[in-house]
Symmetry: none
Subunit: 265 residues, 5 copies
């Protein structure tokens, strides 16, 4: 499958794993999401120097990355959709909207991958339907372009706002499985509360699984959690706030490279 050619740009050739730093939080229109990423040119400049395998951006911020010379810089993962479910209150009419001609943008921006959500939020059946339709439509568009599709299944607790993900392994496994049945080339999934259950996520996915980072935690917790899910079979990480809100993003990326790729720290 031709998606493989761009995936080769996403994964480290030696460890076969991927460190993706997500800096697409500004897309969601939430004031609280902007901490640490107010100055995007500076953020991207810092990250390019830190050298993760990929940086996740929206189409309009992507030139900040893609204008850098050379082919060894981080690959672009393009965020394809914008949702309204992260506010402090649950939305009255939840949506997850894929930008127009998302794969056209990805091709023109020379992205190595696109990323899209499936939300499992109790009581929001219409949102689920939107997400399934989004993934399904992106699947065929990606096929025509040889563009890898990363699906980010998000299991949330009922009746709350914000980023309150649910670490219930059964729910995560079932949603990841749905993402796979829809044709994800990559899955970006939350850690399970019981990290030893992450192997079930990996089994359900059948494609490489990158672990989401979630909210800020201590360096020790982050690194030990990272080690744990890699042991369960995860193929890498997609961390955002734990890198970009870190006082030393470069040092944190270096620490993650040591854990994920086995490089000397």
């Amino acid at each position: 499958m031709s998606a493989a050619y761009r995936l080769n740009r996403l994964f480290d050739p030696h460890s076969k794993r991927c460190i993706d730093v997500a800096v697409d939080h500004g897309f969601f229109g939430e004031p609280s999401f902007l901490a640490g990423i107010e100055d995007m040119p500076a953020v991207v400049q810092t990250l390019v120097r830190a050298g993760p395998d990929a940086i996740q951006l929206t189409a309009a911020q992507a030139p900040l990355l893609q204008s850098h010379p050379g082919r060894e810089k981080p690959a672009l993962v393009l965020r394809a959709d914008v949702a309204n479910v992260y506010g402090p209150e649950p939305p009255s009419a939840p949506f997850s909207l894929v930008v127009d001609d998302a794969i056209g943008h990805a091709v023109r921006l020379d992205a190595a991958c696109v990323c899209v959500n499936i939300f499992d939020i109790p009581g929001m059946d219409g949102l689920r339907r939107q997400c399934l339709a989004n993934v399904s439509a992106l699947r065929t568009a990606c096929d025509r372009a040889g563009m890898p599709l990363m699906v980010e299944p998000l299991v949330m607790k009922p009746g709350r706002g914000g980023y309150e993900v649910d670490g219930d392994a059964d729910r995560i496994v079932a949603l990841v499985r749905q993402a796979t049945e829809l044709g994800a080339d990559l899955v970006k999934a939350d850690p399970t509360d019981d990290l030893s259950a992450y192997r079930r996520v990996v089994l359900a996915a059948r494609v490489p699984v990158l672990v989401r980072g979630g909210g800020r935690v201590s360096d020790d917790e982050l690194l030990s959690r990272t080690r744990a899910v890699l042991e369960q079979g995860a193929a890498g990480i997609v961390y955002g706030r734990n890198v970009i809100q870190h006082p030393d993003p470069t040092g944190m990326v270096r620490a993650l490279r040591a854990v994920v790729h086995g490089e000397p720290a």
Copy 2:
């Protein structure tokens, strides 16, 4: 009609009947549906060896079957739609969504048939309309590709969640008839509570009828029910959990081949 050419791959050339094993349960995102099919490569491998006439999968799992060499392996029946009606609670906004370019996927995956639902659930008029539109659109897409269309009419009890089908013969016959009037090439229908009424289902369908298996029952019950509906004119079976959750799927397929095809057990 050119659908006949692919139907030739679905039916046994001697008995003119079909044993289809459905392994598409993971598509629906229900944690409880994954029992026995957590490891899809292993499941499909086991089934290919067991040798039913067909295996029912979603597009993204289909390569597990289609990568097997030879043309004698089970044919692919492609699940075209995903619904949200199987949860423990009835959905607030029920849907049945056909994947984008379903027939394009079926063609590229060398499927021998696609399968789509019509739900008759009291109070869910909008869902019914979605299903009728789904079948009608697939009918013309199938015609353009010579792809057989299997319609799965599901009569459910009002106000409940889960897989609570209704065995009422009048309701089943009327829904099967609607499937036929919409152009089904094959019908996959639940057994009627009174098995002797299955002849009415067969008469209403006018096209081959494959019987659904439903939840786990004893081997004796399954095989005697199978015999009964075949006597009433059914053209075969589509069983899922009674095969894949069985301790000996290979043995169960062999037992079913004896009943359906008249092969030595």
Copy 3:
């Protein structure tokens, strides 16, 4: 207008009138509608021998008629839409859905006409809008194919389920007029309670009007009502249950040919 060429196949060349027998009731998914038409191959066979001018069927049943040799057999009138308003309870979300590529089906099936509804049911404005959009879209599709469009305006009583039509002449005339304003080539309309008012229906239509039969009545009542509307200017009849549920459908068609075409009984 080229619709005239196919209309030539619909009307008797001598009487210039049409007897159409509708056998499309199975499309609506209502158990109670199947009485007398459970075995469609037998029903169509009987009707072809009885020799009305036309038989009304859905696309998937139409081959039962069109496979008969010769060009003197009854012409095909193709039912284009399926509604959910005939159940014992009014639907919560009423719909009338035209099948995908209806005129493409009509062309491929060599139909002489297609038939579509406009429902006037108090309180169901959304349904009315669907119907008007259906007729309007079919009008242009029919124009491109030279396919006559029969519109069936149905005036129903408020708040009831089932086939409870309203014989109020004012309502019928207004709805027939709307059908004509949308471009009907033919109108299929209910009898008015006061049969002498049927002339107003004919005047409103300006195109040939075929009278609906409605529920089962005695032979005498049916034939005398037929005579009455013909005297008021109707161009023929579309009868269903009064023919197909009749103990002697062939005799009934012969009796109707005597009344409508003036043939010796």
Copy 4:
């Protein structure tokens, strides 16, 4: 295949054979072709009364037939292409041109079949290519409309103008076979010089073969030749000048019905 439905209008239901009278000679722009068909309304009127199974016309003359009431009149076979090879001198740039939207015309005119040529004229390779492309393109257009495709393979002698067909069985068989490989539903082929070789034409065609009439001959010769090819397996005739230039076209059609359909003369 749905072409069967329109073929049912072309063939006599009892004899399963077809008498088609071709009156499309005016299309070719040859002064000598107009004898007997100068007054098309009168010609078509006469033929409708004479009652062959079909009349072959161009799109613009077809309304003369299709305006007649009733469905028992002769079916319309629509000539789809115009060539320049019939003049007294061979053309410097031979062509065979299919009219724009030929199948659209056929559908709108309620035709039962379209007819197109393949010319095998030594030295005219470009013409052959045009014809093969014509048939191939009409094949898919016909499939989309359920329209039967009659192919008329014409084997001509080298270096001559006019209608100088070659009765060489080997050449006719090979060209008829090519027509069949391209998907003809019907073949209209010249008689072979040796009429007993016509069975080879029928075998090569695999679809019904209608025999061309060619230039005027005596009634005896025409009828005995007709009998001979029917005995060899032909499914009917397409005669033009021998009917329309005959002093008594009605009588000639009656005589042909006796031979072809076995009706009392």
Copy 5:
């Protein structure tokens, strides 16, 4: 690449090789090509029983194969183009014409592969260009359908008519290489005069190479030549006249199965 799924139907699962019997000679309109294949239903019936891995046919003859029940019968290889270079005299205007919507036909007919020519005939540059354009257009159409593309490069001697292929290894290797550079999934190539040079053909192709049979030769010569090219790395054979003009086609297929698949003779 999804072409792999249909290739799985073309190759024997054990030997990983393919025996394809070509019966598409009637397409070219040459009287001399019909020997042994005059009666196509009988020919295909015989071949289905003989059991090669595939039978090569045109779209209109393909139903003779595809109407057979079961999925173990030979797979369909669809001939996509018709040329005029096989006559006794070289054509003045050579052509190779791909039928309209070739891949649409292939999909509807459930073909496992399509086959198209590239002619290298000295002096016929325009023909070469047509062929390269044909292959290139089919390549993208095949990609959209997951349909394997077999390219048949034919190296011919200058200035002659008929099937006079040139066994010059340098010319064959160069033309096979061009086929591969255009994206052939399979190559069907003539044997080289020096059979030991066939390894160069296999190396140039990089995809499986099936050897053409050419004109009738003795059984011994055919079988020993077959062994020789298999030893050089060929993946199978496409034989036509040496099977269908053989007095015992079934015995010949059995003998070829012994050589190609290593089955007991």
